[in-house]
């Protein structure tokens, strides 16, 4: 096995172009498990953990651009107030040891339907920045995932960053698992409210072949809130609106039975989480 360890982003892209079979490794929280258990024997590893450009984030043109190598620990500490939904999800990732090493870039690269960062990033309408020696492209996150652990990432590309607007309003994230720490989501849900534009964002995790938005629920709630003038004068959400929102979220899912839970349980849990997350986010909105 070859081990490439670029020290700059330009070198990383050149190496990936030269060795498209090389598996990128940053925090190692997915890749090393596969190596330790002999599930994978890649021809080469491309260690991107020492590429300084990937560890940076900045704000420009009203957007945050967060390097793919920023750890969950740093995300919570440095970007919590600007990306509250993602920070909530980041706090539920693994353990302190895992959060110190794991990165959102790795979460996106693994493209697991259960990735914790995906629902809040979908709800926030984030994009993924993909780069190669051929150039850079920005892919909306809901066009990035193509199947379980599959994405549009080409063999010569690396994930350089995600790009998202700082939360325009309240955000919430919910996750169901067997305990609080060290748990892969049985199902998860994120919601983001944008009072200024009258927009609602959602993200569903672990309940479909890919993480996905609940478009029907978003449109329904946007129409209800606009019709009732609720963005301007927030009042408690009527029960039937919450019920319908939860129903539409569940309708967007296509869960399966597996070792972590049944499809029926996932649907039920999603409805509960959708209702709860929206209630909490709306309560935050009414408080402000």
């Amino acid at each position: 096995m070859d081990f490439h360890y670029p020290r700059s982003w330009a070198d990383a892209l050149a190496l990936k172009a030269e060795h498209p079979e090389a598996v990128p490794i940053a925090g190692g929280t997915d890749v090393m498990v596969e190596l330790n258990f002999n599930r994978r024997r890649p021809a080469a590893l491309l260690d991107i953990s020492a590429v300084p450009e990937l560890a940076q984030w900045d704000r420009a043109d009203g957007h945050l651009r967060v390097g793919a190598g920023v750890s969950y620990t740093r995300l919570v500490r440095e970007l919590g107030p600007q990306l509250p939904g993602l920070a909530m999800a980041a706090r539920t990732v693994g353990s302190p040891q895992i959060r110190n090493r794991g990165t959102v870039g790795g979460n996106l690269g693994s493209a697991s339907p259960a990735g914790d960062a995906h629902p809040p990033l979908l709800a926030g309408r984030a994009s993924v920045e993909l780069a190669s020696v051929r150039g850079t492209r920005l892919v909306p996150l809901d066009e990035f995932f193509t199947g379980p652990k599959r994405s549009v990432l080409a063999a010569d590309e690396l994930i350089s960053a995600f790009v998202v607007r700082p939360a325009p309003g309240p955000e919430q994230f919910c996750k169901v698992g067997t305990r609080n720490a060290m748990v892969i989501a049985v199902a998860s849900f994120a919601v983001s409210l944008d009072p200024e534009r009258g927009r609602v964002g959602t993200g569903i995790g672990s309940a479909a072949p890919t993480p996905r938005r609940a478009g029907g629920a978003e449109e329904f709630l946007e129409a209800e809130l606009a019709a009732a003038g609720m963005w301007q004068r927030p009042r408690p959400l009527p029960g039937p609106v919450l019920d319908r929102f939860a129903e539409l979220v569940t309708a967007s899912a296509s869960p399966i039975d597996d070792v972590r839970g049944t499809a029926a349980y996932r649907r039920h849990a999603l409805a509960v989480m959708a209702r709860r997350a929206l209630s909490w986010a709306w309560a935050d909105l009414m408080r402000n």
Partner: protein, 154 residues
């Protein structure tokens, strides 16, 4: 490949490292530092916890090559001149050790916690140690030990 790293203040150089092996494997099988324990090999149990450039990590999830040129502190590197650290003493005094397999990881994780937060609440202790599994103690004596170590100013 050849790896050079510093463990507990001592520089090491080791040849013929397989590129896919973990830092934990290097520590135990190549450097003879058996304090860090090998259990789950998937970052679930925390018994291989070490400090990598001062950051708490599972050494089973660090590729050997990623540790090249870095500073590692293992459980063997805690304490001075063969004397136990305050955290280690507190674990002994509280009876927080039964079979002992998880203890090195818990001790390293506790050191990391108290370095960042010298007076943690019970909730903060539980969160900080959530990645370290113990199947013997039921954690109560572990929590006692962490509280005691915090009380001693570590």
């Amino acid at each position: 490949m050849q790896i050079r790293l510093n463990v507990n203040g001592v520089p090491y150089e080791t040849d013929d490292v397989w590129e896919g092996e973990s830092l934990l494997y290097v520590l135990r099988e190549r450097l003879g530092l058996w304090g860090s324990k090998n259990a789950c090999e998937q970052g679930e149990c925390g018994s291989c916890s070490v400090l990598l450039d001062g950051e708490l990590v599972c050494s089973c999830l660090v590729a050997a090559g990623q540790a090249h040129g870095r500073q590692v502190v293992t459980v063997e590197g805690l304490g001075d001149d063969g004397r136990m650290s305050a955290v280690q003493e507190a674990f002994v005094a509280a009876g927080a050790v039964q079979c002992g397999f998880c203890t090195p990881g818990l001790v390293v994780a506790t050191e990391d916690l108290l370095r960042h937060n010298p007076a943690p609440s019970d909730l903060e202790i539980r969160e900080a140690l959530a990645g370290n599994l113990c199947r013997c103690t039921g954690y109560e004596k572990v929590l006692d030990a962490v509280r005691a170590a915090a009380g001693m100013g570590r």
